[in-house]
Amino acid sequence: MHPFTYVAPRTLDEAVAVLEQHGERARPFAGGTDVLVQLRGGRFDLDAIVDLKGVPEATALDLNGSLRIGAAVPCYRIYEDSAVAAAFPGLIDAASLIGGIQIQSRASLGGNLCNASPSADGICPLIVHSTVAVVQGPQGERRLPVEEFCTAPGANVLGRGELLVALEVPAPEKGFGAAYQRFIPRNEMDIAVAGVASALTLSEDRATIASGRIALAAVGPTPLFAAKASAFLAGKPATPETFAEAGEIASTEAAPIGDMRGTAEHRIELVKVLTRRTLAIALERAQSNR
């Protein structure tokens, strides 16, 4: 391993300055559950890691109707906060699933997003929650929808000197429900063969879907927002038939490869099944969210 410097800035400006100075030879560091493993595995070398855990904006978890998750907030803080857990069960599905207990004590949803793995469990639930990524850089702050954040396997939109500060999740409307499920051959400690997050908002009649969002993991080069399947849901009755059809449409938006984790054909089938299953859970949650 190439020797690197550990930097622990106290402010966003300091963090941006260090990152700008080193460019690609530095990376922000939260839990380190991806970066350290990749460094040790020789995937890349760094001159500096920039620990964000001393930066207040990156470590705050604020619930005020909407939810702001600092980029370095570990998963356990999200699911152990009972108010957050009650309001965002669709996010908890992912936060309580990533790695195991030890990993969840370190790993952050922000890090999960920046790592930009196609199979990330954390990103699809953020997408269906219409989450906005808050980015700080030398030119100041910019904001973008999370579905635009990842650009390729392991690559994201962050430019020189930029870092992810926080994730802003809008307050759930009345009648909103979301869920995430992944398929793994084992029962723990595994990477998704495919994953689906679904969200829907019920109309006043509580039987019709006003709007819906579906996002797919591990079936494309990045986590995918399934635009057609999402659009399809609007105005449809919240029934198993609708969910099954949404699954069929979502499967046409998936572009999986076959690899050691599963065949492309299997992944297509899983998108259909998991879309149905997550929409059913989202509906249950929507119905109890009055």
Binding site: P3, N187, M189, D190, I191, D259, R261, G262, E269
Partner: protein, 767 residues
Amino acid sequence: MTTTADRPAQEFKVVGSRPIRHDGVDKVLGRAQYGADLKLPGLIHGAVLRSPYAHAVIKRVDVSRAEAATGVFAAITGDDMPVTAPKMVDMVEEVTNLKWSSQRVMAHGKAVYRGHPVAAVAAVDQNTALEALKLIEVEYEPLQAVISLEDAMKPDAVIIHDDLEGDHLGEKVSPTNVAEHTRTEFGDPEAAFAEAAHVIERTYTIARAHQGYIEPHSSTAFWSPDDKLTVWTTTQAPFGVRSNVATVLKLPLSDVRVVPMEIGGGFGGKIGLYMEPLAAMLSRKSGRPVKMTMDRKSVFDATGPGPGGQVTAKIGVDKDGKIVAATADIRYMAGAYPGSSISAATAGIFACYKVPNVRIDAYDVVINMSKTAAYRAPGTPQATFASESLISELCETIGMDPMEFHLLNAAEEGTRRPDGPVFPRIGNVACMEAIRDSDHFKSDLGESSDGKLRGRGLATGYWNGGGNRSSVTISVNDDGVVSLVEGNPDIGGTRTTIAMQAAEVFGLPAHDVHPTVVDTDSVGYNDLTAGSRTTYASGQAAIEAAKQVVEEIKKRMAMIWETEPENVEFEASVFQNKVAPDQRLTFKEAAGKLGQTGGPVSKTGTVNVRGSGGGSFAAHLVDVEVDQETGKVQILRYTAAQDAGKAVHPSYVEGQFQGGAAQGIGWALNEEYYTSPDGVMQNSSFLDYRMPTALDLPMIDAIVVEVPNTNHPFGVRGIGETSIVPPAPAVGNAIADAIGTRLYQTPMNPSRIMEALANKRNGKNGH
């Protein structure tokens, strides 16, 4: 040899109890010293540069920049290893070509598997060593990698070793990638098939599966200026490492001392040499002790999994379901050098049955992947996946209950095993009956609440077990506690099971025998901890040593009581003068009087246990639930019955049954080397290799069957390996029962189950 077969059951005081293991406290507190825990003054750290290609000519290796780097003490390449001429030698665990044994640990001129060591460095710390590897220049000329049976065996195959002379049914053949073709024949299978009421034949493919021990290999060596070499290593075979290191490095045997470290799992995979000779050569160059520890990726890439391969099996039965003939064609991929346990596969494939007419062909085929190693009942789970899956399908076809089929055809005492030996008293039928009488067998499968499919599978398995050479020394302390010195690294609780057998002779509590595993200079020769032999054979050495101690103490007591030694009896831990019965001393009291009666008592028991370990049979029953929408299989319930002869420590016996079942379930469901066409393993991490975790397994019920082994004074059988034999076919049979179609390939992972279900919908079957 004492026999127990015709005597009433023996009564035991210690054997059969469940004392806390002697090494338990050290392990629980983290004090046990595993390979990588070793610290020595002046210790430096080695690292290995491994070939990125599965097959390549190495045109040039230049380590000069690495050697010159700050903090680097030494670098070696194939040129630094002693030159070894081609010569067949007995390397304890295998008969092999000496040149290959040397080349396997360090490539010389050619890399023949991905991960093949090409150079190594030693530096002040591990990171410096790893960075120095980047300074080594290697010029490769990649060759086409041979990674399938088909490519290796075709007429115009790329040849991996020009100097491999194949033995094909006794004929010498060269060039070839088929190192060996053997045939076992008895009776006239073709004639019997012609008259059979029903004949079934299928071909099965089995994936390579790694032993998956948690502790990676770690070896340390110090080459002293007087040319004496000490090796500290994590191994199942300290004496094997001693002779193999001496052979490869051209040192006199007794100039090598091997210190076995505590071992974090082996399962057969820690028998051969890996880094020991490299650490030795780096130490020789640097004058320092050198430690080398693999990372997980290297363990997967460059150490032996069990072989994968292809098995075609055929069985014919008469109208009553009685087997009239069976044949098999077994083809195993040995990896880059020959030696893939085809003989054990031949012995095991039909061992559970009476087969009057049989022919078994077996092929040992080299391919461009790491040399396979022993893995728990080597070669047998693969072959048994074929035979037990085939029998399940046969039973389905002829409408016969598998339990009935097994009991009708089961091998028993006097049955000729298909490859020749005649079974002594065995527990094959007893295990099947234990399953038949189990609560699990009698209970129904239950219904899944959410439309998932359930199924039940049954399979049997066999492993012969070994005997061979062991040496144990027992010394009596003044306080009546005895120390027991042994040479078998403890991988299954064998310190305790060996100590308990000595304790039984003395009538002492298990904890009054203190067992220690020592280095090769400190105990007589011991064969390796493998082959289910340690409790069985080293236990006999301990019994032998204990008996000698008792005889010696009888002489001492005779001196004190002024009588003849034959007048002194020893029973229930008491020495007594049968002429003057009030003259009696307990073992502990007697121990305090040894100093005055001739000095310390210390005795060595040595054995060379010939022939069979008695054979341990097993029957496994499993319930599964299959999600037909995702292909996921959940193991709902699992029961393993196996013959232990006499369980010395029942908890460890149960643990072996459970551990083997857990590993076999891994083979069945998810474990495989997922390899690119150029021979590079894609899933070389525990994350993607997918061994079962605790959450993937139910509590495995273990039924300990005890049919005494006539070859052991207490009736003990070696039991460590059989438990991995039945699980893959048992799980496969359960899946077939659940989904109504069959898979002919391991692993039966979710993608393959979905494919099988799709084929079934389209009216296709998988064979």
